[in-house]
Symmetry: C2
Subunit: 295 residues, 2 copies
C-alpha cells in the first residue's frame, strides 16, 4: 500500500460528500492514517461511529482539527466563515486546509483572510452528488470518474496543492485546475441554474389548483420526474450555494430567461423553424456529452 | 389467447410510439390480427419489415387504412390534419380512428371535422417516451405501468371507446379518462414545460463563449446531464406539440417565469428563508411522487 497522503484527516461535516470521503479513506487506508469527524450534532456523530466511517468523532470543531495535517470543510458554504473562525487558532502549522464547496470565489473571500500563516489553503470542489443527504447517503464510489475542480490560490505551496489533488485521485476523481471566477461561471450553468430551475418548476406545479396538482403527481411523465429528482436535494446546502454564487447564477438565469422568452414568443406567434432550431441545439449538446462520455 | 381487439390495425407513423405498439401487437397477437404500417418514406418501411414488426407496409396512407377496423395516428400532431384529409374517404364504416398525440384540443380541432359519419373517433395519449425516435427506438415494455389518457368525444359509441382502452391495457398501460382542456393543462406542466425548459437551457449553454462551452460539456454535473437527456428528444414532434398546446403551455411558462423571477430576486437581495422554502417544496413534491410510485 502507498504511503497515506495525510497522517490525520479532519472532516468538518459528514453529509453526502464528507461521509463519502470518510468511507473511502477508511476502506483504502492510503488517504489518511486517522479520520476524525466533526458535525453539528452528537446524533450525527453517533451515527458516524455506528457506521464505522471514522476513527474518532469530535463535537467541537476546534478539537477535531487539533493535530490534523489535513482539514476538509464539508459543511454548507454559508457555514464556512464561522467554522474557519472557530478552528483558525487550532490549525497545526504546515497543515492543509481544503474544502468541497460548490462555490469558490465566496469561499476564498470568507475563509482566505482567516487562514493563519503557515497553513496551506487549497480550495477544491468535487463535482459529484446525488439528491440524498446526511451521513447515511454517502458511498465509496461517489467520485469514481467524476471531476474535482481544484482552485489553487496564487503563491500557495505547490506540495500542498499536489497533496489535495492526490487525495481526490485516490477517491477515484479526475482533476482539473481552474481560476475561481471561471469555476463559478461554469458551475452556475452546469449545476446551479439547473437546480434553481428544478426547484422553481416544482413550486409552480405545487401552486396549481388542487385538482390539477393531484393530476400532476399522478401523471408525472419522464420530463417532470427528472426535475423532481434534482429538486429533492438538500435545502440548506443549495440555499447557501445560490447566495454565494449570486453574480454568476443571476447572469446565467438572466440569459436563460431571455432565451425562454424568445421561445415563448416563437410559440405564441407560431414560428416553427425557430422552435425546431432551438430543439436541435439541445440534441447537439447531448451528442457532445455522449462523445465525452459524460452522459 | 383472448380474441384480438381489432381485426386489422393500421399504424400511420412508426416512430418510438408507433413502433412500440407494433412490436407489442406482433408479440401478443391479441391486439389485432393484422398490423399494417405506414410511414413517410420507403426506407422507414423497409426497416419495419427488416425488424419484423408489421405484417404489411404501405407507403400510401389511404391504402394502409383500407379494410382496417382500427387506424392509429402516430405521426407528429402537426401532420394530423393532412393525414386525416388523405385517409378520410378510405376509412371503413364502423372503424375506430384513434391517435397517440401529446395534445388533445388541437387534435380534436384538426381531425374531428374530417371524420366521416360511421367512423368512431377516440383521441388518446399514452404518456410514455424516451429521448430516442424512429422505428428502431421502440420496445415492447414502453407502456408498462404508464398511464394512457383517453379523451372521449361526447356522443361517441361506448364500445369504440372501450376497445381503445382495451388496446392500451393490453399494451401494459393504465387508463384515465380526461376532458380535452384539462388534459392539455396537465401535460403542459408535467411534460411540455419541462421539455421547453430543457431545450432552452441547452441553447443558453451553447451560446456561451467558446471556452466556457467546452467546460460546460466537460463538467456537466448530474443537474445538466438530466436536462440534456430530455433535450435530446425528437425536434419535429416537440415543435408540433408546443405549437398545438400553445395556450396551456404559455400559461404554465408564464407562471414558471414569475416564480423564477421571484427566486432571482431572493438570490439578489439575499432572502435565505424564501430560497429555502422554495427548495423544500420541491422535496415535498418528490416525496409525493415516491409515495405514488411515479419516481
Amino acid at each position: 500500500m502507498a504511503e497515506p497522503v495525510f497522517k490525520r484527516l479532519a472532516l468538518l461535516g459528514v453529509g453526502l460528500i464528507g461521509s463519502s470521503v470518510a468511507r473511502i479513506a477508511m476502506e483504502r487506508g492510503d488517504i489518511a492514517g486517522e479520520i476524525v469527524a466533526n458535525a453539528r450534532t452528537q446524533a450525527t456523530l453517533d451515527r458516524v461511529m455506528e457506521l464505522g466511517i471514522a476513527h474518532r468523532v469530535e463535537l467541537d470543531p476546534a478539537k477535531a482539527v487539533e493535530g490534523a495535517d489535513c482539514v476538509m470543510l464539508c459543511a454548507p458554504v454559508g457555514a464556512y466563515a464561522a467554522l474557519a473562525e472557530a478552528i483558525a487558532p487550532y490549525l497545526m502549522p504546515g497543515a492543509v486546509l481544503t474544502d468541497v464547496g460548490s462555490t469558490k470565489q465566496s469561499v476564498i473571500r470568507d475563509v482566505g483572510p482567516l487562514v493563519p500563516e503557515g497553513v496551506h489553503f487549497v480550495p477544491a470542489h468535487p463535482m459529484a452528488g446525488t439528491e440524498h443527504s446526511g451521513p447515511d447517503a454517502g458511498f465509496s464510489t461517489l467520485f469514481q470518474g467524476r471531476w474535482t475542480l481544484v482552485v489553487p490560490i496564487p503563491g500557495t505551496d505547490e506540495a500542498a496543492n499536489e497533496k489535495v489533488c492526490e487525495l481526490w485521485r485516490r477517491c477515484g476523481s479526475m482533476i482539473e485546475i481552474m481560476e475561481p471566477a471561471h469555476h463559478d461561471r461554469v458551475v452556475a450553468i452546469v449545476s446551479h441554474l439547473p437546480h434553481l430551475i428544478a426547484f422553481t418548476i416544482c413550486g409552480t406545479a405545487d401552486d396549481l389548483e388542487d385538482e390539477s396538482r393531484q393530476q400532476v403527481l399522478r401523471f408525472a411523465a419522464a420530463g417532470f420526474r427528472d426535475f423532481t429528482r434534482i429538486a429533492a436535494s438538500d435545502p440548506a446546502m443549495w440555499r447557501d450555494v445560490f447566495l454565494n454564487n449570486r453574480e454568476a447564477l443571476l447572469e446565467m438565469l438572466a440569459r436563460f430567461m431571455e432565451d425562454a422568452q424568445a421561445m415563448a414568443r416563437a410559440v405564441r406567434w407560431g414560428d416553427p423553424s425557430y422552435i425546431e432550431e432551438s430543439i436541435k441545439r439541445g440534441r447537439k449538446i447531448r451528442r457532445s456529452l455522449i462523445e465525452l462520455k459524460q452522459a
